[in-house]
Symmetry: C2
Subunit: 429 residues, 2 copies
């Protein structure tokens, strides 16, 4: 073997950045691996499209088979994104004995266990460091560095788009729509931002991390999910009055044989480290039985950070190939753990209620909460409006069971003194 052949599936911004690194650092990479890495073939949709990256025309193909079944290709890098046909191409590559590296969070979250099993049977590597947190080392730390730890919790800001929007709402007092528009203008949010703002992107990433953390198979379907679109600027103001910031967190908590798995907006103490993570940055806080609290912070997206993670995987696999090392699985996903239903979690809550401003209102609301074993820790009345005779009640509760809280909120909605349950947000820490 004179070199290690690389095939690329996709030549968008991430694929172009990866190709650029492979070509521009060819000598440095060869030195690190001990043998040159040669880009052999790149799957594109249209070979004639004008591109900023200069690749020799013979490298481009519109036929996936020329990458995944190419005898010159040892490692296939999948950076086309989306579920299909990326999944099928990766399966074909593995079946053909190729090592696979992917940045595809959706495919790994949904089919990671299946792909890892296929890879193990064919004794090829399957690596996906780029799928979560982009250039922030996360997959390797969970697979290796924390291997002797029992992980109890993950609290993570895994989506830069929503964190940017929340930062703008908090710091500039913008409403959700304006902050989203700004994020779109800056290229931080896509034209169709649903995947980000509804939490789906964070769900995929949490599924991947919690599988590794708890040595089990977590499916995106196991994860409770709420997005950020119902947050209003005033929620941030009230949060601050109570000493909290609002973040969209991906949360995984081990509770003996069960795991809480959820992605939703939360109040977190404003002096906590995660509260200070602003803009498009990501941060992942992990609690290990030995290591204690660790935080990994960095850019969670972008072509260059993603190619940093991809190239780390390329170097590991290429060295394994060159030194004839087997691609042994890093983490067995053999623990049987059940996902705790959201209705069973116990946590504190913030409610924002629009009520009729007259004596007895609070008593009626308190009674409903009390009857459902939801105990109030503080109440502030806001925005009394003489004309409409309404006011806003901001309520913080003590720890209560989600299902009791939801039942109470339903009953509160039915009270004649209540115009609207305007928002409710869970409180961590």
């Amino acid at each position: 073997m004179n070199n290690i052949g690389i095939g690329l599936l996709g030549l968008g911004v991430v694929g172009s950045a990866a190709a650029e690194v492979l070509l521009s650092k060819v000598d440095k990479l060869a030195e690190q691996v001990g043998i040159p890495l040669i880009l052999q073939k790149v799957l594109v949709r249209d070979v004639n499209k004008q591109r900023t990256i200069k690749l020799e025309p013979h490298l481009l193909t519109e036929h996936a088979g020329e990458v995944v079944a190419n005898p010159e290709v040892d490692i296939v890098i999948e950076v086309m994104g989306g579920e299909h046909p990326a999944l099928e191409y990766m399966k074909q590559a593995i079946a053909n004995g190729k090592h696979v590296i992917t940045a595809n969070k959706e495919v790994i979250a949904k089919y990671g266990y299946e792909l890892l099993s296929l890879a193990q049977k064919r004794n090829v590597g399957l690596r996906y460091e780029a799928s979560v947190g982009s250039g922030i080392p996360l997959i390797s730390p969970f697979q290796q560095d924390l291997a002797a730890n029992d992980i109890s919790t993950i609290y993570a800001i895994l989506n830069g788009t929503t964190n940017y929007i929340l930062t703008q709402m908090s710091q500039e007092g913008l409403d959700f729509t304006s902050a989203l528009k700004q994020a779109q203008e800056l290229g931080y949010a896509e034209a169709n931002p649903a995947n980000d703002i509804e939490g789906t992107d964070a769900v995929y990433k949490l599924a991947i991390l919690s599988s590794l953390a708890f040595h089990t198979v977590v499916s995106p379907k196991d994860i409770y999910c709420e997005g950020i679109s119902r947050l209003q600027a005033k929620d941030f103001r009230y949060a601050r009055e109570f000493g909290y910031a609002i973040k969209l967190l991906a949360i995984a908590k081990r509770d003996r044989g069960a795991i809480e798995l959820r992605v939703h907006p939360v109040f977190i103490p404003e002096d906590s480290q995660l509260a200070k993570v602003n803009g498009v940055y990501n941060a992942i806080q992990v609690e290990g039985s030995l290591a204690g609290r660790l935080i990994f912070y960095g850019q969670g997206a972008g072509a260059l950070p993603t190619s940093s993670a991809i190239m780390a995987d390329v170097l590991i696999i290429a060295r394994n190939i060159h030194y004839g090392r087997s691609n042994i699985p890093q983490v067995e996903l053999n623990q049987k753990l059940t996902a705790k239903p959201i209705s069973d979690i116990e946590i504190r809550y913030y409610f924002r209620l629009t009520v009729i401003d007259r004596p007895g209102t609070l008593a009626k609301i308190s009674k409903v909460l009390g009857d459902n074993s939801v105990s109030i820790s503080s109440v502030i009345q806001k925005e009394s409006d003489l004309k409409s005779q309404t006011a806003v009640l901001v309520i913080m509760t003590h720890t209560a069971e989600e299902k009791s809280v939801q039942k109470a909120l339903e009953e509160i909605k039915g009270l004649t003194v209540v115009k609207e349950v305007s928002n409710f947000i869970r409180v961590e820490g």
Copy 2:
């Protein structure tokens, strides 16, 4: 081979924690490696000493040879600390074909290259994840995850003791002596705190990290070092007035063929991430050409976090042994880079001068600074004392060359209007 034998050199707090993990997690570790890990021998100073950890008496020995030359031992874990005889024992272990894992920052900083070369010749692993940042994954990320990046800077809080002292001085207004005493009472500082407060501990850790980051051999002697003992509570107050915090940072900056390597107190912007790292925590900020800015945060010391890192290394090496994988070197330290002398760096400065409070004083000082090409960005007069006719001048400069600044400070000391150059601190960012 039915099992992998582990030998321990040292049974202090870290050694006991590591032994405890090996014994209590024996099943889990066996599952992760594919073969049991058996603690075979532990070197102690006195086999009859009372210990909290219960080990069968036959496991203890007072003779290093029974560990490093024991045919039942495959992996030697060195947790005795100190330069000698830890270095010699590690060399013997390697010569006997044992894999070596160490938490010893001093030995790795001073002899890491030599030990790695010996290990490579004998085809055994030498790992030292625990030597820097304790349970924070750092060595592996530099060896693997950032491998495709050119690292431009490291800014790191690598010593929890000094960070605790500085946090207390900043938040509580304590003077250095009281803060140190408090740290000693809480067990964060040793009875002889010199290694921490003079910066030596951070120098060792920076030598290790910067060797990996820049693929070169960095010796502790290459690193300029100042401790924190000359800081006063008032420096923190003045820093805050200018929008800065004071931290003891370990700094490495690549500047083409040279590297700046220094450990000293610095002003950093108070809204920077590192400024918000308080108490005994460590944080390591790295700037990579692809990954951008990354921060790793966690407990930088302690028996459990250290054993987390040690066990990560144990698992990697044990799996390599079990799967018959070679221990290929991770990073070649073959770059020729020179350490830039401190006199050549260019940076901004904070001065605190005690002066005679009369007209013309500032003019004389400004002239000396100007004559040495040191340009003032702001001056505040403080603590005017009518009785002694003195005042304090707090001066912030623009970027200037260290040697010009030192020359200017010497000349300022000689001015009759200047009673004392009370402090000077470099300013980053």
